[in-house]
Amino acid sequence: MTPTQSSDADAAALACERNRHDSIVVKRNFHATVDELFCAWLDAESLAQWMHPGTTSPSTATVDARVGGAFEVVMHYPDGPKRHHGEYRVIERNRKLVFTWISDATHHTKTLVTVDFHASLAGTEIVLTHERMPDHEAGLSHERGWTAAFDLLQILLPA
């Protein structure tokens, strides 16, 4: 058994980092055009083929690819289906996608995912930011709590 799969040069381009304490940023470089990648997010058939938990069967996806349109991805985990859904907030072809993201794991509260597409030397860099939704009514105290929790965590559990 090999301990890692990091031999691929692309693995070096894979970077994860935190920006704010309450959000995550995942970056990856692709040997593919921006167009190929962008389409894979908004075409339901494509989305179903890659957005699933690896070893299991393809997801079931529906996509209404317009601002305000809804999407749904049902991922078939070994212990049962998990529904992820949301609404597109920003669609700038080959540049940016912003959508809300709701699932069991978000406790059915809205979180926000931003996917930025940049042309890079290798092809395309995707920068994905997932943050607690600044949902100005219901989510505000939640968001404040989240931010505060991670600020305090930085103080209490220094790396």
């Binding site: 894979l14 190929e36 990648l37 406790h107 305090l152």
Partner: protein, 118 residues
């Protein structure tokens, strides 16, 4: 993906959304303290301090030990680590999805190349 108990995270967020309670936690991060010490440090009534402390106790962020007549409070950062785990879980989720996206795009490209050479 690991599921976290929504009720415990809700209690955590509720407890953390108040400035006085966050200040109490920051104070307790330095050292344990008596309820009366906290009340005087934050110039709020003992009654009000006790209410805030109860919220923090319910969220599991503060534990209380009775030493003689004193109630001594200690910080318990465990629940916050649970929230951090929740975030780590998502990092792994998106890292895996982007790897799958790359695989998908490569496969698609190879398929279309294969077709065009036939």
């Amino acid at each position: 993906m690991v599921e976290y108990k929504s009720s415990s995270l809700d209690a955590l967020f509720g407890a953390m959304s108040d400035g006085t309670r966050r200040a109490i936690l920051t104070r307790l991060a330095q050292s344990d303290a008596r309820v009366t010490e906290l009340a005087s440090a934050f110039t709020i009534s003992l009654n009000s301090t006790s209410k805030h402390i109860r919220v923090l106790e319910r969220a599991g962020l503060v534990t209380r030990s009775v030493q003689g007549r004193d109630h001594v409070l200690s910080l318990n950062a465990g629940p916050m680590a649970e929230a951090a785990d929740w975030l780590e879980c998502y990092r792994q989720f998106w890292t895996d999805r982007l790897a799958a996206l790359e695989q998908f795009v490569m496969n698609k490209r190879n398929t279309s190349k294969h077709r065009s050479t036939q």
